[in-house]
Point group: D2
Chain length 226, copies 4
């Protein structure tokens, strides 16, 4: 699949959820982004709900700050929070404007069931478990989007540049900055997953699988909303 064959604990976690991970990373929605054939209505539906997703994603990083046991964890949570609220949300609003979605619409739109399902699942996984559980529940988003961008880049049918209306989306997640953030998360997860008991790894794999399934539903929601 999209992640290089390696022997890290996170790679092992991914390998346990290989069918779900592939269904997520190579979803029809992703293929439509890659070759530019995704209906604009599907993308717009996705963009709208992704705004609501970001709000709850920010709440999840607030929870990560709360769950921190030391300053390093606290700063990690805060950095993610700043990236989302101070940077990504603004970019998202600007990007939505380019697609004809006004900020006023974003602030009043109803939350789709798929958005509720994924975001609340992540928040509950974080509350029920500890900081590692929360990160594992968040990983399909952060690590997944990085993997997806690399997978798109590697496909022969992918169209890049102005010929693809989704070029900006692809470029953002393929960017060095985003890829580095995803790698930092993989590194953090590898350090934490190392040496965990089998029972603990089983629980984390279940969380990762569930979260990945809910990401698949999020893509499907986009397609169905067209």
């Amino acid at each position: 699949m999209t992640s290089k064959p390696d022997s890290t604990p996170f790679a092992a976690l991914l390998a346990r959820c290989a069918p779900e991970w592939k269904a997520y990373c190579q979803h029809a929605f992703v293929r439509g982004l890659a070759d530019g054939t995704l209906p604009a209505g599907a993308f717009r539906h996705y963009l709208r709900q992704d705004y609501l997703f970001l709000v709850h994603f920010a709440r999840a990083w607030g929870l990560a700050v709360y769950k921190s046991r030391n300053l390093a964890e606290l700063r990690q949570g805060l950095d993610s929070l700043k990236a989302i609220v101070d940077l990504e949300m603004g970019l998202h609003v600007d990007y939505c404007a380019l697609w004809g979605i006004a900020q006023a619409e974003l602030e009043t739109l109803p939350e789709a069931r798929e958005t509720m399902a994924y975001t609340r699942y992540v928040l509950d996984a974080g509350h029920r478990g500890d900081l590692l559980d929360l990160h594992v529940a968040l990983a399909p988003c952060l690590v997944g989007y990085a993997d997806i961008a690399r997978w798109i880049e590697a496909q022969p049918f992918t169209v890049r540049g102005s010929a693809n209306p989704y070029e900006a989306w692809i470029a953002m997640y393929a960017s060095e900055a985003f890829q580095a953030a995803a790698q930092a998360e993989r590194d953090w997860l590898n350090a934490r997953l190392a040496g965990q008991t089998q029972e603990r790894l089983d629980g984390l794999a279940a969380t990762f699988r569930d979260a990945t399934r809910l990401e698949i539903d999020f893509w499907q929601m986009g397609l169905d909303g067209a």
Copy 2:
């Protein structure tokens, strides 16, 4: 609608979510229970997921115990917890057996997205807010099933007795014991909702509406799973 016209704060909350409440209480799944025409496969799918729902429902009442500010609230949460874990779960397992679903199957079945969506939404509403927010998120289940049973009883097309394979289901929620529990919950909510600010009531109505929508999805999941 199913709830008697009254002027209580909870009735006012219901009135603000009237379309969703009606769509939930009079859902095709409910009509199929009433006249006995619901496909057995739909009911079995519902029964299986309802078992997983009960587990998270119990977790929600554990959260209610944690959120208590006094002994009365603490005992209320504990009583609900005992009703679910010590009573309902056993009845549910027995009832599932009558429909050919073994306990071993219940303990390993994958959680449907609709189950995750509803249960995690309730848990997050409870964590984010206070005990009242949690109760309002739980109300569509407890109060709703009572309203649904009364609505079924009042319909001309309803079939009762051994001619309806869903008689036991209807009888349980129409029972005096269940109706009394639902009324106790309405009374508790009325006492707490009285005098709240408009902003607070707006937030609670949004929670109640979302939870009701997720209950509708839960019925639909049953139908689609047939």
Copy 3:
């Protein structure tokens, strides 16, 4: 100290907090219970605050129910909750009455700082971490009182029977039922602590040490309140 020399993971945890554990289990308050010389005023102050402690202890077990990952954990939390709310609280109220403390007084008394410190520390440890963190924070209470009763029983200066006004207190915690509950908790902890990473064990030891220090303060509060 009071726990038998053994090689279980929980014994290793205890060994890392040996000075604090000894200071807690052999506190002057405990010695005063053993030989019957504890001032009645100190005991009454302790009894009053222990009632408030029980309320938050029950909240902690509600949190444990919420944090459960399966039915076994859920039932364990519920059983503890029932033991506290349905049994211990009543016994405590009755026992307070024998010492001249009316129930009405219990329900309105101000919470001492030491009670707030210990109970809120436990609750935060549980929220920040997972179910194991919560149990480790609760262990000084459940396991500690069992160890304390056994230590009292083993001291030459201990006075038993009607000659000691604290006989009932000693007898309760020395009882087979309480000792069995404590052993069940040790067993559960041993199963969970086995195979944990050193970093994880360090964090749990810090929690256990802090909670034990706060138990020491609770005894001291009793003495100072005389």
Copy 4:
């Protein structure tokens, strides 16, 4: 007392806790800061524990981010978090260095019981209740330090300038920036407290009173640690 007589809901809350508020704002520790007679050892003990306090204070604002219901609340929480972690912690470390306390010491020092009591109380109040409960539990710190600085400024015995070793501390909390932040918090609280039910206000007053008592203990810890 230090807050101007006014008729806002927050002033009414303060008035219900007037004795505790006065004991906190005019504590011997505060008087020692004002006239410069506070023993350096007391101040150093306070400074050390205040560092640990800041870590948990940051966690509390992370919890506030999680508890947000909209972007405005989310940004408010994030702004407080950034002020603490990106600004105050650095200032605190620098200031500690001036008093001969090395950063390495700050990172390994044991947490005093008074620090645990106050910080964990705030976190539990936030978890148990909603965002307003959390803010009310935090208010004695933010609003209190602003009131204290103004009270110090108004006392005839106060020594300002280089003649007072605590001039920098006083100046920071008397600064326009800090006073404005405290006023913004008062405004936010006033907007939220308006129109609440009496029962709700009773609960909030109890939280505010408890938190103020724990702030008093924090000052006393400084004095006792000299």
